[in-house]
Amino acid sequence: MHRPAARLDRPPRFDRPNPVAFLATVLALGFLVVSLQGVGFSASTFVAGLPQMGRFAAGLFPPSTDRLEPVLWALLETFQMAVAGTALGILLSLPFGVLAARRLSPHPSVEIAARGLISLFRTVPDLIWALFFVVTVGLGPFAGTLALIVDTIGFCGRFFAEAMEEADRGPQEALTALGARPAAVIACAVFPAALPSMIATGLFSLEKATRSSVVLGLVGAGGIGMELEVALTFFNYQEAATIILCIFVLVLVVEQASSLLRRRIIT
């Protein structure tokens, strides 16, 4: 005979919030409101300024093509800086990543030192690194490239270390068991496992370096940023518009190519 199922306690649709989590959420929202007031956020000020924005934007058009050739050469230099800085930065990030990876570092003190250095590279803005290298090697793209190398190590070093830490330990144990040296285990088991993640990080780094290399020119570290700074200083907004459009196309092409490569390589 069919017996009706005993009535079970029905759990609530939503769990009661944890008091600490609730308090933290309220405090976070409160801080957001204070922050908006702190930065003087005002929709009315923004709306009132829209006509000025319109006048400025109108001044950008039509973009001037008078100096298109030197602008394109500067754009090429910018891209060269990004490629050279990223490639060398990625190469240097590999040993930094190994030394900063918890299970691969030869000693905890080495791991802490490597992580500290990577953090320093990441924390100091690339503009400051560019100034530092302009003072060291003089104005021009070499200083910008050095700044991008340091910035890339700060970005890739951390993610490479994490990718290597997450690599499957089985193949590493197998190679250790057959008498391989630690360096061989890293080269033959850790790197291949971490490769997809490292390629993705490297490509993101190239995108980031392309955008950064534009800004680095503002402090004299070479590339199209120097052209942009000169155009803005002399209120040559139509030429500035050309430069901005060129930068936009370059960044767009690099991002699209990077996405395509990521999809094709990481399988």
């Binding site: 499957d168 089985g170 193949p171 144990e173 197998a174 190679l175 250790t176 068991a177 057959l178 008498g179 391989a180 040296r181 360096a183 061989a184 890293i186 080269a187 033959c188 088991a189 291949p192 496992a193 490769l195 997809p196």
Partner: protein, 263 residues
């Protein structure tokens, strides 16, 4: 009279015939605050012997196998492989000993993104003076040898296929080829067929034992499969709660005793 670990090693070496590949005495291991996994294991394996190590889950089989190569460091006791006492020797010496032993894992532990051939080539890493540069520099002679190893396990035609596209049985065969590439004197296999279907499992066990016989290799494998232990091993060692509860030559009337190990 000498005492302690050194004395134990001297005693072991003095009382062990030369044709003994593995000598284990008083081996103990515990992970963290947990119960002991190995409690005073004594074991010796003669050269060319095929030994099945059986026991229920958690009996300590895998830990014992890893302790044999110091992949897991024992808390106490001695491991002597090929007459080399592993406690206290330099890492370089440990690596030399490891290179003489082919270790096959349950999950085969191949590098997934690399080809079967590249994985087999890894077997030569222990003897390559170039270490990490070995793979890119692997000369033609090394690749020929790796192809020959793949051929012995019947997979030469899959040499360029990525390891992560192989079936479980094929992967385990590549792992065996990698072990053969070491030119080993001993094979250790930790539940080598546990993740395979019965037919593939039989094939891999046949391959293992026939290779060991052809080369005169010492073979120690762990298994839950009593039939495999009885069919392929000359001797069966049963572990229960970290202790050796049975150590007998394989005979017909052993099945009921084996069942007790899993009880």
């Amino acid at each position: 009279m000498p005492h302690g670990v050194a004395a134990l090693a001297n005693h072991t070496l003095a009382n062990t015939p030369l044709a003994t590949d593995i000598v284990v005495e008083g081996l103990e291991k515990r992970f963290g605050d947990g119960p002991p996994v190995l409690r005073g294991i004594d074991l010796s394996v003669r050269r060319g012997e095929t030994v099945a190590l059986i026991g229920a889950n958690g009996a300590g089989k895998s830990t014992l196998m890893r302790c044999l190569l110091h992949l897991v460091k024992p808390d106490a006791g001695e491991v002597v492989l090929f007459g080399v006492r592993l406690n206290g020797v330099r890492q370089r010496e440990v690596r030399r000993v490891r290179n003489r032993v082919g270790f096959v894992f349950q999950r085969h532990n191949l590098v997934p993104r690399l080809s079967a051939l590249a994985n087999v080539l890894h077997g030569a890493l222990g003897r390559s003076p170039f270490g990490a540069l070995h793979r890119s520099l692997s000369p033609a002679a090394l690749r020929d040898e790796a192809m020959a190893c793949l051929d012995r396990v019947g997979l030469a035609h899959l040499a360029r296929q990525r390891a992560d596209t192989l079936s479980g049985g094929q992967s385990q065969r590549v792992a065996i080829a990698r072990a053969l590439m070491q030119r080993p004197e001993m094979l250790l296999a930790d539940e080598p067929v546990a993740s395979l279907d019965p037919a593939a499992g039989e094939e891999v066990m046949d391959l293992f034992t026939s290779l060991a016989r052809q080369e005169g290799l010492t073979l120690v494998f762990t298994t839950h499969n009593m039939s495999h232990a009885l069919t392929y091993a000359q001797r069966i060692v049963g572990l229960r709660d970290g202790r050796i509860a049975l150590d007998r030559p394989t005979t017909d009337g052993l099945a009921s005793e084996l069942a007790q190990i899993f009880a």
